[in-house]
Point group: C2
Chain length 310, copies 2
């Protein structure tokens, strides 16, 4: 973030409907299997988006759902997208929202962040080898512990879902608990602080254990920021989901750090918006323009709040 002077993250949540026809056409001509062609088209689109924007943003987030749709072909495209982002020396967050009981959570931690045991007795790097993943806290500490181990052993990060950006997130997350009148999301936030206590970086003082707090809920964001000062907040909801730049500033600390602002559709599918008046053949240009405008918007709001360090 300091190098590129902004906290923005582009989401490669690539639905096939976002991919220009000429890329789909090329993929169909090249591959016999339509699942494979679809995954190839998404990968090609991602590579072009990354190449058009990586000099601007420090980070990309990839939501696994849009790749799992195409089975083994989608998983290959996901891995190759991760590789491409890493080749461009940018941070890659896999948004997988995984969760399970301890022994199975360990398999997930190894799949995405750790090392894998193979049938010839050797161990290999994780197939995906992301820098960080998202995890769901519903199962409690023993479902999180293997991910903490991966953070410590392999220099990785996790983002725990605390207050999600969707309309129904209040149903469980905002209900008050009778132990101390705090809500479920506050209780989870306190656990995030506890889980990350042994994983604080020496340079900036932030933990490997971050949290997801939707930009669509600025009041809850203020509460979370106070409860877990050392967590990096991954903030979805800006742009297409309706949150504004002024809503996301509450996720930052006074040092101007501590939050990553994410936008997917608003950037990667910008060419489809009337605002950019770009044809399919100019999708990279529109994405770049949208990324630049997002950065400007976030930096202006940070400056207005007195929290900008850049």
């Amino acid at each position: 973030m300091d190098k590129l002077q902004n906290p923005c993250c582009i989401g490669l949540d690539t639905r096939i409907s976002f991919v220009p026809s000429f890329i789909k056409q090329q993929a169909v001509e090249k591959e016999d299997n339509v699942f494979e062609a679809t995954a190839e088209a998404i990968l090609e689109f991602n590579r072009k988006i990354v190449d058009a924007t990586y000099d601007l943003v420090p980070c990309y987030k990839i939501n696994s759902a849009f790749y799992e749709l195409y089975g083994k072909h989608g998983i290959k495209a996901l891995k190759k997208t991760v590789e491409h982002v890493k080749k461009r020396d940018r941070i890659v967050i896999l948004d997988v929202k995984r969760n399970d009981i301890g022994s199975t959570a360990e398999a997930y931690a190894n799949a995405y962040l750790g090392r894998v045991e193979l049938c010839d007795g050797t161990k290999a790097s994780s197939y995906f080898d992301a820098d960080a993943i998202t995890v769901n806290p519903y199962l409690g500490t023993d479902g999180i512990k293997p991910f903490l181990d991966a953070c410590g052993n392999f220099g990785k990060g996790i983002f725990v879902l605390v207050k999600t950006s969707n309309p129904s997130s209040h149903e469980f997350q905002d209900v008050k608990m009778d132990n101390d009148s705090s809500t479920l999301f506050q209780m989870v936030a306190r656990k995030v602080d506890e889980w990350g206590a042994e994983l604080i970086g020496t340079e900036y003082g932030y933990s490997s254990v971050g949290m997801v707090v939707g930009a669509t809920y600025p009041e809850q964001a203020k509460v979370c920021r106070k409860l877990v000062p050392r967590a990096v907040v991954l903030v979805p909801g800006y742009g297409a989901q309706g949150a504004k730049a002024k809503d996301v500033v509450h996720n930052f600390n006074e040092d101007g750090l501590g939050a990553i602002i994410h936008s997917a559709r608003g950037v990667i599918a910008a060419y489809r918006s009337e605002k950019y008046e770009a044809g399919e053949d100019r999708f990279e240009e529109a994405a770049r323009q949208a990324a630049l405008e997002m950065i400007d918007d976030i930096i202006s709001a940070l400056k207005a709040s007195g929290k900008c360090r850049w």
Copy 2:
């Protein structure tokens, strides 16, 4: 269940350490890529376990974590394991514990249960096409809705995590909420009832929306059973996790239905236990023996409770 006269489910949570050496050896000789060889070995093991047990049990559950470890090769083995179970005319539950905001949850629903949009404009059946999957409720109704649609449109099922079997599950799930002094897991259970209300089967009166309730918590199981009479309970925790047959009877209704009892390691890795004194070459026989004993154990407990219909 009525056909095979038991409610047991075998978990194909196949760690590579469970696979006999001779299968691993064959896979290494056949495949150059060790990730692919590992996935092939797991698939071969699964096929043999299924073939040795499918005349006994109505259902198999597969935990995706142990396949995601091997990337695209693991996903291929997962799909082929699903296909093999379906070829044997048994129900297959994919234990993926997926969750996300509505638009992304829709992609997960399509990936595992629904239909997939491809780059040539056609739609295809889901790559995995499982009978049911597990889902995490933390995001609330809009993260569940797309899965309900898949249940209705494609005759599928989901199992919502309510009270999980792991030691830390009390941390959030058992905390009392101050609205009505019920716990979080009770609140989620009530939502399960609501989510399933429009998806009740005509033959047995059960809903397509089931719930996961760990056998390790019999008291909570009684509460859940009362709260959601029409849900099928997927019950992990029997066997290797320590729960006994007498603990699982609380998950059944008076009609002797309403629960699926799951065991993975206790069956598929039975050959490694001292009890069976079976060498690697007799792993299928040991698994079959363990399955038969599990069925006996559960049926005896059901008979003792007066709830057995078989």
